[in-house]
Amino acid sequence: MSKTVLTVDDSRTMRDMLKVALTTAGYTVIQAEDGQHGLDVLAGSQPDVIITDINMPRLDGFGFIEGVRGDSRMRAVPILVLSTESDVEKKQRARAAGATGWIVKPFDPVKLVDAVRRVAA
């Protein structure tokens, strides 16, 4: 059984890129379009890893991570944050909110899969 990754990103481009890279590597991918949608999706699923963007409408990445960590079912699910190289502050805020690690955008598929593997139990 392959592992499931939930990707949360408001950009269709990013969602598609993540999906292609992850499915190629053998993961099952489920998607959400923003933080709120991500929490909705989580209500009905239990991914092995979550990848989330930060800047999103409705509920941003920080809020989403806090939401996930606040759910006893999800407290231990690794969460990777998509961030740009320069977003040092954001990386730190994401960590404070409970992010497990990060993926630097633009990512290359190998690094992405590497990062997922590094946190996937």
């Binding site: 190629t24 590597a25 239990q46 231990a76 699910v77 633009p106 590094r118």
Partner: protein, 739 residues
């Protein structure tokens, strides 16, 4: 690679959407809406474009977006006030961004100098930003809602000083390197979903690892905090990789642990302290496979991470919560349904479907006629079944048409930029207000609306609006307003373009028309008729042909293109208050509700939307009117009576109008005319077929259709026929039609 090319297309599509968001947001900000959601949406739009552009190495786009994003970020955190001059620069930056996206999409060059100039303007604006921590004034709401800068955060970020070359020196490649790794996690590590076991597994992938666990920190059972972290780990690693590779594994956990990585000279077995309780060192390759360690080929379904054996159990116990096994079915199905509410379909497929449904409609009609001919009773099972089939066919047709329907947004959204550019060129100040941009209409209609709309917006700004000083003198606001709106009305889409300018200068319009020989000098015209002169071919109102409305394209071309879409256009103008152009267009170019009529043995279809009333002419109502023209008295007025059979050249004039039926039609500009036909067959929805694709334009005919008997019937072009027939004293109807 194909997948990537496809994603790239998605990216460009998404960019278009983001550009709309961007412009909409900026216009809202310009209008004084400084709500943090609006500002954030604008920021996100730029950010998204940049993110995607980075993925596809679109460097120019990334750089420009980056500059733009920086400026937007300063606004977002309240260090820069979105004052009108800044917003104007940003609107121009949005235009540049759009140009860059389009250039990238077409793989074409762009105006780098212009981009650089606007980027410089943005940077200059950024230089005026309030210092970090301070807020720019005048944007209280933004400042309050904006995220706090990181400086205020409890966690101070310490940049990671990892100089890779240094490590390279310490551990030259190739050859085996040995490291002693001491790692002691803090509870936060687990709280963030990291896992020591996985880290150890990753280390083992680098080479031979010998792991020992230091349980010295473990308190008495009673004092154990289930979410605490009590163990320390020492790993002796023999690897071909360098120290940077080792440290990379701990990248995510560096803040939540203490880590030491020391190169070791000689292979020395770990010498654990005597006092430490030592787990039996377990070679890590004997650990259960906890994940896809080798992802090429695609991960073989790894065993479910069963909490396992000696080393792992204590760790798991210390974890906040064990991960329950995934509920597979739910995981895979439910979210998918939530996450993908739309699909993208090749337009050709939709069109093929529409064609087929068109055929179905015709076939169904043919079948109905056959049944009718066979003399089956209306209540017979076949007839009843056929009724149901007809109902179903109509529903299928409506649903299929709805697939092609799109909001007019895609064409409306191009207009604000156009308005800005035109206003700048002619030195006027204008606000473009759009309404009803979610009104849906067939995609083909939308595509063909772009040119006429572009032209009319240009006209409205160039000719409609007065110069700023004139406006001020007239007691109007300096900034002119152009409204662009769309709405559905009785099965058609109505698009209006109105300006609050000077209105049509009727004296001048008339003078021009006379001067150009379009009307005889002594013609008596109503205001409405005068206004409609601007639609005549060869009419141009501009005293000097500016490069905006120039190029020889006049309102006659606009009118023709609207008519080609089965639409009508009219103008209403009030001196000093402005002009409104109203276009009414069919929602689809594929079907039409028609009145099927007989004219001299020919079957013709007249669009139902044109018909106002059906009249049975009585002798007293029809009057000769010079030459062979006739009018019909309708209530208190007289309306030209147009003999369709004669205009079409099917026969001579129908001597006795009482033998026929007159259809009162409304033509463009609101004028009315009565079309005389021999008989009415009935109403029917018909599928529109082009005559042009395999033949050409036929004067007086808008298109063709196929009736229930399989024969082609022609659809009348009501405006042209009415105009030709009512042209008083015109001896050559063919010429009148062709003109």
């Amino acid at each position: 690679m194909d997948a990537l090319a496809e994603i790239k297309q998605t990216f460009f599509q998404e960019c278009e959407e983001q550009l709309v968001e961007l412009e909409t947001g900026l216009l809202a900000i310009e209008a004084g809406d400084h709500d943090s959601e609006v500002v954030n949406a604008v920021f996100r739009a730029v950010h998204s474009v940049k993110g995607g552009a980075g993925a596809f190495n679109l460097t120019d786009l990334v750089h420009f977006a980056h500059t733009f994003e920086n400026a937007m970020d300063l606004v977002r955190v309240g260090r820069l006030a979105p004052a009108p001059p800044l917003v104007r620069v940003m609107l121009r930056a949005a235009d540049i961004l759009a140009d860059l996206v389009r250039a990238a999409r077409a793989d074409a060059p762009h105006d780098a100098a212009r981009a650089a100039a606007v980027a410089a303007e943005l940077t200059a604006c950024c230089a005026e930003a309030a210092p970090k921590g301070a807020k720019a004034t005048a944007v209280g709401s933004v400042a309050a809602a904006a995220p706090e800068p990181a400086a205020d955060d409890a966690f101070e970020f310490v940049p990671l000083a990892v100089d890779l070359s240094d490590f390279g020196d310490l551990a030259p490649m190739p050859g085996l390197n040995r490291f002693r790794i001491t790692f002691r996690p803090r509870p936060e590590l687990y709280a963030k979903g990291n896992d020591t076991v996985i880290l150890m597994r990753e280390l083992a992938l680098l080479g031979d690892a010998l792991v020992t666990c230091d349980t010295g920190g473990l308190p008495g059972l009673a004092d154990i905090d289930p979410e605490g972290a009590y163990f320390g780990w020492t790993v002796m690693l023999e690897t071909e990789r360098d120290e940077a590779a080792v440290r990379e594994i701990f990248d995510f956990v560096e803040w939540d642990s203490t880590l030491e990585v020391e190169p070791v000279a000689a292979p020395a077995p770990a010498e654990p302290d005597e006092e430490e309780f030592v787990f039996e060192p377990i070679p890590l390759d004997e650990l259960p496979d906890l994940g896809p360690p080798d992802l090429d080929p695609p991960a073989p379904a790894p065993g479910e991470a069963e909490p396992s054996q000696a080393v792992v159990v204590p760790l798991r116990a210390a974890e906040p919560a064990a991960v329950p096994a995934a509920a597979d079915a739910a995981t895979e199905h439910r979210p998918a349904a939530q996450a993908s509410p739309t699909i993208r379909v090749d337009l050709d497929r939709v069109d093929r479907l529409i064609d087929l449904v068109g055929e179905l409609v015709i076939n169904q009609a043919m079948l109905a006629e056959r049944v009718n001919e066979a003399g089956l009773a209306r209540m017979s099972q076949v007839a009843v079944g056929l009724d149901e089939l007809e109902q179903l066919t109509r529903e299928i047709q409506d649903s299929v048409m709805a697939i092609r329907a799109q909001p007019v947004k895609s064409v409306f959204q191009r207009m604000p930029r156009l308005a800005r550019e035109v206003a700048m060129q002619v030195g006027k100040s204008v606000r473009l207000v759009t309404e009803g941009e979610n009104t849906e209409v067939d995609k083909t209609v939308i595509e063909r609306l772009s040119d006429p709309l572009t032209h009319m917006i240009r006209n409205a700004i160039d000719h409609g609006l007065e110069r700023p000083e004139v406006r001020l003198a007239a007691g109007k606001p300096e900034e002119g307003q152009v409204r662009l709106s769309a709405l559905h009305r009785s099965g058609r889409i109505v698009i209006e373009i109105s300006d609050d300018g000077a209105g049509i200068n009727r004296e001048r319009v008339r003078a021009i028309a006379v001067e150009k020989g379009l009307i005889p000098p002594d013609t008596k015209l109503t205001d409405e008729e005068t206004d409609n002169l601007i639609f005549l071919p060869g009419f141009s109102t501009a005293a000097t042909i500016s490069d905006i409305s120039g190029r020889g394209v006049g309102m006659d071309v606009v009118k023709r293109s609207i008519q080609a879409l089965g639409g009508r256009i009219s103008i209403a103008s009030v001196p000093g208050k402005g002009s409104t152009f109203t276009m009414s267009l069919p929602l689809t170019l594929a079907v039409l509700d028609g009145m099927v009529v007989t004219v001299a043995g020919h079957t013709l279809v007249i669009p139902l939307t044109a018909i106002v009333e059906i009249l049975l002419p009585k002798a007293t109502e029809v009057h000769g009117f010079g030459g062979n023209a006739r009018v019909i008295g309708v209530r208190n007025g007289f309306i030209p009576l147009v003999d369709v059979g004669e205009v079409m050249g099917f026969r001579g004039s129908l001597e006795d109008a009482r033998a026929g039926v007159a259809l009162l039609v409304e033509i463009e500009g609101g004028a009315r005319s009565a079309l005389l036909v021999d008989a009415i067959q009935g109403q029917r929805q018909v599928v529109i077929k082009s005559l042009e694709s395999n033949y050409g334009h036929v004067p007086g005919i808008a298109a063709a259709t196929i009736l229930g008997d399989g024969r082609v019937a022609l659809i009348l072009d009501v405006d042209t026929v009415a105009a030709a027939g009512s042209r008083v004293g015109s001896p050559d109807l063919t010429l009148a039609l062709a003109g």
